[in-house]
């Protein structure tokens, strides 16, 4: 590899490989200075650049050409140059523009969080909480669409969609054939499988995980429970089609849903197959590993394991006790 380049983001300098984007450089630093990303997805090639929430100010282009960039740039698609200086949360201009983007993303979003399955793990909700206004200035009817079933397991609720294109890239890149795309243009664009063909292949369920909002939801979990009442547990199984590494979401002793494991930026670590996601909903199907670590900032952590009271399912089930030995020992210590 060629030499590393130095980039300074909000006063913190980091050395990264050439060709890294500003966003990924910021993720290497971590913490509050990481710009939010609604459409960029590191596992999907070509994603990003669309939602504009990750915009930052480049106050110094590079060591060679120190001129600042004339406009705010999308950090997910702008590569770093040696000596580049970037302002994210230290720039009022960026914060204002980001608040503007959030407002604009929300004007056609239905704000039906009380009945939306994504609530609690919704990127847009988090973003609105951090940057949004208390009151909308948009006084017109929002665009609406009919709900569409894409196959028997996935439901598309286009009203909530922010057109991040992540699911389109997912369908394009990790499944065998492209099954859906965007119809129409402007604010009438919609994600669609042309003439409502069912999305039918082994990995189609991943579009649910990549969706940053509640536009694509798991029909086997719809309206079953609020995510913050469920307890995530990492588990795995020997799966012939995928890695089999998942997160199980428990309510009492029942597995309500299965998702891929997500990292701190809400991106899945490994895509999982539909069998794991939709069919295997018994504890017996899985080898449990440990409780999923949930960020303190998330609403899901509000009644999480850190209370140190083991789940009833673990107390009753010998296999689970075995699998959670370390955790239980820790509990016993306290």
């Amino acid at each position: 590899m060629s030499e590393k380049v130095k980039v300074t983001i909000d006063g913190i300098t980091v050395e990264v490989e050439p060709g890294t984007t500003i966003l990924n450089a910021a993720r290497q630093i971590g913490g509050d200075i990481v710009p939010p990303a609604m459409c960029y997805y590191s596992k999907l090639e070509g994603s990003g650049g669309k939602c504009r929430t990750c915009i930052v100010k480049v106050s110094k282009g590079s060591e060679k050409d120190p001129r600042p960039m004339p406009k705010l740039v999308a950090s997910c698609r702008t590569t770093v140059m040696d000596g580049m200086e970037v302002q994210n949360i230290t720039s009022p201009e960026v914060m204002e523009a980001r608040a503007g983007v959030v407002e604009i993303l929300l004007i056609n979003h239905p704000l039906d969080c009380p009945v939306c399955d994504q609530a609690g793990e919704c990127d847009l909700q988090n973003l609105g909480y951090e940057h949004g206004l208390q009151k909308t200035r948009y006084e017109f009817e929002r665009r609406t669409f009919e709900r569409i079933d894409i196959g028997d397991k996935i439901q598309l609720h286009m009203n909530r969609c922010i057109l991040c294109y992540r699911c389109v890239f997912t369908a394009d890149q990790i499944t065998n054939k492209r099954v859906h795309g965007i119809l129409n243009r402007g604010d009438h664009s919609e994600i669609s499988t042309y003439i409502q063909t069912a999305v039918d292949n082994d990995f189609s369920g991943n579009v649910i995980d990549v969706c940053p909002v509640g536009a694509l939801t798991d029909k086997t979990f719809r309206f079953k429970n609020r995510v913050w009442f469920t307890k995530p547990v990492d588990a795995h199984r020997d799966c012939p089609t995928c890695s089999g590494k998942v997160t199980l979401w428990y309510k009492g002793a029942d597995v309500l849903r299965v998702t891929a494991r997500k990292d701190i930026y809400g991106e899945v670590e490994e895509f999982i197959c539909n069998t794991c996601r939709f069919e295997k909903k018994k504890t017996d199907d899985w080898v449990l590993e440990h409780p999923t670590h949930i960020s303190d900032a998330s609403v899901i952590s509000s009644n999480h394991y850190e209370t140190m009271i083991p789940l009833p399912v673990i107390q009753e089930n010998l296999r689970l006790q075995e699998a959670n030995k370390v955790e239980l020992e820790k509990t016993a210590k306290f």
Binding site: R77, I104, L163, R185, G186, S189
Partner: protein, 455 residues
């Protein structure tokens, strides 16, 4: 009479056929370039001419050509952007309809300069007659040996294709055009990489406007130095202006850059004044995307000097008191026209044409359109005016392609210069439905104090 370079023979009967076009000196540039000049010399000549892109941005064409990457063994492409769909602009259609061979001749010379073996003319889908005209002209040129294999025995091969688009305004943006040409959805690409590095099918590509390519012909015929003698400063040569609106003689005019705006509007050689003996209220100088200006700022700069039709003079004063050359779609509004209604109309266009890829433009254009609709139809509030300014600022500069800017500028500038009229619409909701605000003070000479720089 001013010099004409592109439309010199426009009134010759049959100029759309190869025979007549050749009699009038057509295809001289092809012979000269292919037989006596190297590709680099052609690029150098265009650079010397100072020709600036005629599609709207005004980027020097020669410079654009010299940026083209030339890796070994990779095809290069020249794409002509004939997806003209900006409200107020219709010069390319005129050129393609009446002298199609001027474009084809320019395409051959430009392709030769860039080393392109395959070139495309991407024509807007609605222009079906023009597509047929171009295809017939290409067949004629091919039969005469100006296209195909071994052109004029020089060993240079070129295939030229006409590709109809689907009729989307966004496909006039160069990367969206390339996507569309590749057969995909016409969404603008995220830059970089620029088309000069990775364009059509990932190969280095130059995208030029119809008029820019046609202007290469006189540059090669007479030399770049000769071309710079026309025009003023860095705005060299002639420019086609599509004049429309309340003018006595609307139409396509070829002007020498540097012509005073006042002369363009009022002289009999050009538009012949405002129709029906009315007074000029406002103009949009370069197609719907550029800021609208009141009559006083159209004719005179903020310092009182006459404004000229040139890239520099039109943008003099920045966005506070200036506008832009754009694509040359000159729209004049007389005293009876409603600026609010016009702004709404433009805004409706951008709402309809936004591709929906990035959020500020997708959602913001619709929002502005709805607010403007409300004001225009007598349901507006005073706070709506500031809301519009705020929304336009949130779109501007935050989008992937310039459509967001193009949607934001007309609204922001209309409110900057015609705020009184917007407020009147809000204050007098009933009256504004039946009558119009009139010319007010928009044609009065500008008092020095009025020149503010608020943005």
């Amino acid at each position: 009479m001013a010099r004409k370079l592109l439309l010199e023979h426009i009134n010759v009967p049959g100029i759309n056929t190869l025979d007549v076009y050749r009699q009038k000196g057509g295809y001289r540039a092809v012979e000269k370039a292919l037989k006596t000049l190297t590709p680099d010399e052609v690029v150098e000549e265009v650079k010397k001419s100072g020709l600036r892109g005629r599609g709207g941005a005004g980027f020097p064409t020669g410079m654009k050509w010299s940026f083209l990457a030339k890796p070994e063994g990779v095809a290069r492409y020249l794409v002509c952007n004939a997806d003209e769909s900006e409200p107020g602009t219709f010069k390319d259609r005129y050129l393609m309809t009446y002298i199609p061979h001027a474009l084809i001749e320019g395409m051959i010379v430009a392709s030769y300069a860039l080393g392109a073996k395959t070139s495309y003319i991407y024509v807007r889908g609605e222009m079906m007659p023009q597509i047929r005209i171009l295809e017939r002209a290409i067949a004629e040129a091919k039969a005469a040996g100006f296209l195909g294999k071994n052109i004029l025995g020089t060993g240079y091969d070129l295939e030229l294709y006409v590709q109809p688009g689907g009729g989307a305004y966004i496909c006039g943006e160069e990367t969206a055009l390339l996507e569309s040409l590749e057969g995909k959805r016409g969404n603008p690409r995220i830059k970089p990489p620029f088309p000069a590095i990775a364009g059509l099918y990932g190969c280095p590509t130059v995208v030029n406007n119809v008029e820019s390519i046609a202007a290469v012909v006189p540059i090669i015929n007479d030399g770049g130095d000769e071309y710079t003698k026309i025009g003023i400063g860095r705005s060299t040569g002639t420019k086609l202006i599509s004049a429309s609106g309340n003018l006595v003689k609307p139409g396509v005019y070829e002007i020498e850059l540097g012509l005073p705006v006042e002369e363009f509007i009022y002289s009999d050689e050009y538009c012949g004044g405002i129709a029906n003996g009315k007074r000029l209220k406002a103009t949009v100088a370069g197609g719907s995307s550029v800021p609208v200006l009141p009559a006083n700022l159209t004719l005179k700069l903020a310092n009182g000097e006459p404004r000229l039709m040139s890239y520099e003079s039109l943008s003099e004063g920045g966005f506070a008191t200036g506008t832009m050359m754009g694509s040359g779609g000159f729209i004049a509004f007389d005293e009876d026209q409603c600026i609010v209604r016009n702004t709404w109309n433009f805004s409706r266009f951008y709402h309809h044409e936004s591709c929906g890829q990035c959020s500020p433009c997708r959602e913001g254009t619709g929002w502005m359109e709805k607010v403007l609709h409300r004001i225009e139809h007598g349901h507006g509030k005073m706070s709506d005016i500031d809301l519009l300014v705020d929304v336009s600022r949130k779109i501007e500069g935050n989008t992937i392609c310039p459509l967001g800017d193009a949607a934001a500028w007309p609204v922001a500038s209309a409110i900057r210069h015609f705020r009184d009229e917007f407020e009147w619409h809000v204050r007098e909701p009933l009256k504004s439905q039946e009558t119009n605000y009139g010319i007010a003070k928009y044609a009065e000479p500008i008092a020095k104090a009025e020149v503010t720089t608020d943005n």
